[in-house]
């Protein structure tokens, strides 16, 4: 009978991506505090990058874009760092979205700068090798790539990218946990600006969690029935 059960995609997704704790022994709130601090430290490079622009006249537009976005992200993460320890639902949601955007932007910049760096490296190495030994044939591209200590650099880059992806999952799990624990519903939010922003940010969670909410609806309805019965008994 179990073999013919339809796959429950939302439960499967939740089981794979939603984490219960940070690294197995810290709470998600502690994990988010650490994640925010790490993000702030990385974005400090924007300040020094902008300072170094005054001494580097041949900076590419991608570098300028990266430094400016780093400074903006630094301001945003600093503002979030004040509110995350207070277990605020809107700020946790904003943290997840901002961190996701930052992760994607960083992957783009890293790939761009990596291709630029390694191509420059291979060109300079091949030119120096050709100058030193003209009679010998030019060594292969792979040999030059391996000679420049590129393997540990690539491994470290992949490790850092994987770590940031795990951090994205932690922020997602923390915001999901706060929404579930606080019992906030879109119809309960106030109609002011923060309420509208929170409702907009919560929309993907509501769509993804519709089945589980429907599954839990009966329980709440039963509680209401019991409450009504108790009130009727008191009246009688």
């Amino acid at each position: 009978m179990a073999l013919f059960r339809r796959p429950n995609w939302s439960a499967l997704f939740e089981k794979i991506f939603i984490q219960k704790s940070f690294l197995g022994f810290c709470s998600l709130r502690v994990g988010c505090e650490i994640i925010i601090w790490f993000a702030i430290i990385n974005k400090v490079s924007g300040l020094y990058g902008i300072v170094s622009l005054f001494q580097n006249s041949d900076a590419s537009p991608w570098q300028v874009l990266m430094y400016v976005s780093s400074v903006l992200m630094l301001i945003l993460f600093s503002w979030l760092a004040i509110h995350i320890p207070k277990s605020s639902v809107p700020h946790a949601l904003i943290l997840f979205y901002v961190y996701l955007i930052d992760f994607l932007l960083n992957v783009l910049f890293t790939v761009l700068f990596a291709l630029s760096w390694f191509s420059k490296l291979v060109q300079s190495d091949s030119s120096s090798t050709e100058e030193s030994a003209d009679s010998d044939p030019s060594p292969s591209l792979l040999y030059l790539f391996f000679q420049a200590e590129s393997i540990p650099s690539l491994l470290l880059l992949i490790f850092f990218a994987s770590l940031k992806f795990y951090f994205v999952l932690i922020t997602l799990s923390y915001s999901n946990k706060l929404i579930v624990d606080s019992g906030i519903r879109p119809q309960n939010l106030p109609p002011n600006f923060s309420g509208r922003v929170t409702r907009l940010l919560m929309k993907p969670y509501i769509m993804a969690a519709n089945r589980s909410y429907l599954r839990n609806h009966t329980k709440r309805f039963t509680d209401s029935i019991e409450l009504e019965q108790r009130l009727m008994d008191e009246v009688v």
Partner: protein
């Protein structure tokens, strides 16, 4: 006038009997009694780890010889046994281990050490942050910039830990100084272990030798600090860095780690001025890059290491500030940590009422903190209470914390539990 009366109230509060008194005894028997009463747990594996590091350093170090090392070991054992010195040396055991391990790096045979990475940090710097920030920031030099870089890097860096220790002893809850000592020691210990396992060349190596492979025969260079030596006509930094035990310890930057940890602890004690402390960290990071001692990747590694150590200390052990208290003598009780895991955090809020407190759950209830703070404030207010017709007695209100003061510490604490240390 109100400031003077407030000062009188605080000084009167300092004269109260407290369980957080300094040890003055020279009798080693209480130490053995505490050792016998210890309930062992997994946290005591850290002492096995520290002993392993000390044994390795003892094997490797060639100068001083056997009798010198034996003498140092005996002195350390005596210092850890006598209560007068135990209260200082036991929290500082990690710092001592780090210092000895750092010194032993000079004597480690080259065949035991991994190869030195020269291109990894420049590659990461250019890929992760767009350009070589250290190279760009150190391109333009000036005497005024040299002085600005030297003051935090060469002067405040080495004196700040002592000043902060004094500040944490006076203006923080009792028990903060041992936590600072442990956190500082573990950050440095892990930093040196990473530097030993992952040796990388600093920016001054790239400036002097290009990207050629490095060997352990290369001696350290002061980098930009050579200009300070030339400016003052001295050779302090040239000699110091030439004889450094760890030449290729670029990653992680412990300069950045020190500054970050100091900023975090001072921000915990003085939250109002935390942006000044963070500004100092930014200043020091610029100094290291300007003086060609670290890449920005090293600074990120050092600061992340400091944050990890601080978050662990804060959640597990760091005493919490209480409203309205400034000096250490004003604290009648101390609450340690916030809880690292979900289970611990939930148990803190389990007791809902401050009036239904047992002795065990008293110090862990946030409501009890507010309740006791209110009682203490009332007690402080009663210090200058004048006799009037309406009052029946000039005695202060009874305090539930009085039960904690008379609790015998020798039966419940152990030598490895730092809560009984001042």
């Amino acid at each position: 006038m109100s400031a003077l009366s407030t000062l009188k109230k605080r000084l009167a509060a300092c004269n109260r009997a407290s369980q957080y008194k300094l040890e003055t005894s020279l009798n080693p028997m209480p130490t053995f009694r505490l050792l016998r009463n210890t309930k062992w747990s997994w946290t005591h594996l850290q002492y096995v780890f520290l002993a392993g590091n000390l044994i390795f350093a003892c094997i490797v170090i060639e100068s001083p010889g056997f009798w010198g090392k034996f003498g140092i070991a005996c002195l350390l054992a005596i210092a850890l046994t006598v209560p007068l010195t135990r209260q200082i040396f036991f929290p500082a055991i990690v710092i001592i281990t780090w210092a000895i391990l750092f010194y032993s790096c000079r004597f480690i045979p080259e065949r035991w050490r991994p190869p030195i990475w020269v291109r990894v940090l420049p590659t990461l710097e250019n890929i992760l942050y767009g350009s070589n920030l250290s190279s760009l920031l150190s391109k333009t030099t000036h005497s005024i910039l040299d002085i600005l870089a030297w003051v935090p890097y060469g002067v405040m860096h080495y004196s700040a830990p002592f000043i902060i220790s004094f500040i944490l002893f006076i203006f923080a809850p009792p028990g903060t100084l041992p936590v600072w000592a442990r956190t500082f020691g573990y950050m440095n210990l892990f930093g040196v272990l990473i530097q030993m396992a992952f040796p990388c060349s600093p920016p001054w190596y790239e400036n002097m030798y290009g990207l050629e492979p490095a060997t352990y025969a290369v001696r350290g260079s002061p980098g930009g600090l050579a200009r300070i030596d030339a400016l003052f006509g001295t050779s302090i930094y040239t000699d110091g860095f030439s004889n450094s035990p760890v030449v290729f310890g670029a990653f992680p930057s412990l300069h950045a780690g020190w500054a970050m940890l100091e900023a975090l602890f001072l921000s915990h004690v003085f939250p109002r001025y935390r942006f000044c402390f963070y500004g100092y960290v930014l200043w020091l990071c610029w100094c290291t890059m300007y003086l060609t001692h670290h890449y920005f990747v090293d600074l990120v590694g050092g600061m992340c290491l400091a944050i990890i150590c601080f978050v662990f200390a804060q959640k597990l052990r760091l005493p919490q500030l209480q409203t309205g208290k400034i000096l250490r003598w004003e604290y009648e009780f101390v609450i340690h940590g916030h809880g690292l895991s979900e289970k611990t955090s939930n148990s803190l809020a389990r007791t809902g009422s401050p009036y239904l407190l047992g002795r065990d759950s008293f110090t862990q209830n946030p409501n009890a903190v507010a309740f006791m703070s209110g009682l203490n404030n009332m007690e402080l207010a009663n210090t200058d209470h004048e006799w009037s017709v309406g009052s029946s007695s000039p005695e202060p209100l009874p305090s539930p914390a009085a039960d904690l003061i008379d609790r015998p510490a020798s039966t419940t604490s152990s030598i490895f539990d730092a809560s009984h240390l001042p």
